[in-house]
């Protein structure tokens, strides 16, 4: 970032926004923005609360299970579409529709199908994440250079070797990008799911805070979630960068 011709580190902009938040909060101008310092105090408090721990564990569990299946199914579908033309024709349109559809509107239907509990949350997480993972995996697989495929065949690669030693690695950069984006969507999924089901875990905390105008707590919780999402997404980003060295050199 460059300011008036001076290079400043990127964290600086974050600090500026934080300062702005604090100032606006202290001015009492916009009631939904309590001062950042007050939010941070509440954040520390919430992190120590038992009901937060429970909520976090429940959410994390639903999140992990949903995400696990989303990766498994997404990568599988992506490969299927990339390798089998008929599968692509059959599924391609639907995957594209679901990847861009406002899935939150489906959650009430899911509640009817799976009840007001954990299953609905897991399914929501899954549905939020799976399509983008499928699409990215598909993009990765369909861009694999045909000569790599021929090379493996010419040296007598079995089907299994072909997938595990060539195709998977060749598509890995896109698969990881898909997982990272799917992950961010899954965070949305878990919160939206829980908000709509409303009696569960983090969603329950969010709705309680906003109903009672506990805005400092509300923002604190949002901040925790934000940092969590950012943390994991940059972790995946880190793995992505480790494979990036060959992403451009594959053709």
């Amino acid at each position: 970032m460059v300011f008036f011709g001076v290079r400043v580190p990127a964290v600086f902009s974050l600090l500026i926004w934080c300062a702005l938040w604090e100032v606006v909060g202290r001015m009492d101008a916009v009631f939904i923005f309590p001062p950042l310092s007050a939010v941070l105090v509440k954040l520390v408090m919430i992190l120590g609360q038992n009901n937060f721990h429970e909520a976090a564990i429940i959410s994390l569990k639903a999140f992990s299970i949903g995400m696990f299946w989303a990766v498994l199914v997404g990568v599988f579908l992506g490969f299927l579409m990339g390798r089998v033309d008929a599968a692509n024709k059959l599924l391609g349109m639907w995957v594209n529709i679901f990847a861009s559809a406002p899935l939150s509107s489906l959650v009430p239907i899911l509640m009817l199908l799976f009840g007001f509990g954990e299953t609905t949350i897991i399914v929501t997480v899954f549905l939020f994440a799976v399509w983008i993972i499928t699409l990215d995996t598909y993009a990765g697989v369909s861009h694999i250079s045909p000569s790599l495929n021929e090379m493996a065949r010419s040296f007598g690669a079995s089907k299994w070797d072909m997938y595990t030693k060539v195709l998977f690695w060749a598509a890995l950069p896109e698969i990881l990008a898909g997982i990272r984006m799917g992950f961010i969507r899954a965070v949305k999924g878990v919160v939206i799911g829980q908000l709509l089901v409303s009696v569960v875990a983090l969603g329950a905390m969010f709705s309680r805070y906003s109903r009672s105008f506990l805005l400092e707590e509300f923002w604190a919780l949002a901040l925790i979630l934000f940092v969590f999402a950012l943390g994991i997404s940059s972790m995946i980003g880190w793995v992505e960068r480790r494979v990036e060295y060959y992403a451009g050199a594959r053709m």
Partner: protein
């Protein structure tokens, strides 16, 4: 890169003779692509063991198609390919392919890339690495075992592709314009090295190139294909005498120049015919 180039001796490069055993035979090969393009029509060819045969012809005449059919990567519409007398219907360990675009695994080191064929054959890791290292040295890449393809020049990448093909000890090497992506200087160096390696390893090579000069320089026999649908037009045997001569001297030989001229005349006719249509 420093690789000593030994000049090939006479018995290493004796001329094609009638008694030479034929290791690859192609008979009645026709290839029609889905969509109706007839790439090859009724191609009959024999490739003598231990010799280098070049496929030469105008762009789109089906050279790559023929090479891939021999490799077992493509199915012919009609006709059969025999290797060592046996009909083949897919890739096999007696044939190895060297790709125009190298086809290296970008996420794997030179060592892993060279050992890929061996790995597919189920050779254990220690044997694989030992063998790969020896071929890496033979192609002049010693010291680059742990480098990744993107850290190598185009010429070095093709050496990796060549080492990978040599490592599986196939009798037949199939090379599709292997040197087209490297500069002329590297290309000439490669030609020498290829001749030297082939002499040492006693391989049969089927080679596709666009360069007449290269074809005449390296080949024992040159197959001229007609424009699409590809058919055998002529088979030229350059019969270059190499013993005691430097590469430059060979390239200035009247015999060498005449053969180049002769082939150029044939190819030029195709171009003229094409222009008239």
């Amino acid at each position: 890169m420093t690789t000593v180039i030994a000049s090939p001796t006479q018995e290493e490069h004796s001329r094609v003779n009638d008694t030479a055993q034929e290791i690859v035979e192609v008979s009645g090969i026709t290839k029609v692509y889905p969509g109706g393009t007839v790439a090859l029509r009724g191609v009959d060819l024999a490739f003598p063991k231990g010799k280098m045969t070049t496929l030469l012809g105008p762009s789109g005449c089906g050279k790559t198609t023929l090479l891939k059919i021999i490799a077992g990567l493509l199915d012919a519409t009609e006709g059969v390919v025999r290797v060592n007398g046996k009909e083949v219907s897919g890739p096999g360990p007696e044939r190895a392919f060297v790709f125009q675009d190298f086809a290296l695994l970008p996420w794997a080191t030179v060592l892993t890339n060279v050992g890929f064929g061996l790995e597919m054959q189920g050779v254990d890791k220690a044997t694989r690495e030992a063998k790969s290292r020896s071929y890496i040295t033979k192609v002049g890449l010693a010291g680059f075992e742990d480098n990744y393809p993107h850290e190598l020049s185009g010429g070095m990448r093709q050496r990796v592709g060549l080492a990978r093909a040599l490592a599986v000890s196939a009798d037949v090497l199939l090379m599709d314009e292997p040197f087209s992506a490297v500069d002329e200087q590297t290309r000439r160096l490669f030609q020498e090295e290829l001749l030297r390696l082939l002499a040492m390893e006693n391989k049969t090579v089927i080679f596709v190139t666009h360069s007449i000069e290269e074809a005449v320089y390296v080949s024992d026999q040159i197959v001229l294909l007609s424009p699409r649908p590809g058919r055998i037009n002529r088979v030229v045997i350059p019969g270059i005498e190499r013993d005691g001569k430097t590469p430059d001297e060979i390239r200035r030989e009247p015999g060498f120049l005449d053969t180049v001229e002769d082939i150029w005349d044939t190819l030029k006719k195709y171009l003229d015919e094409e222009r008239m249509v």
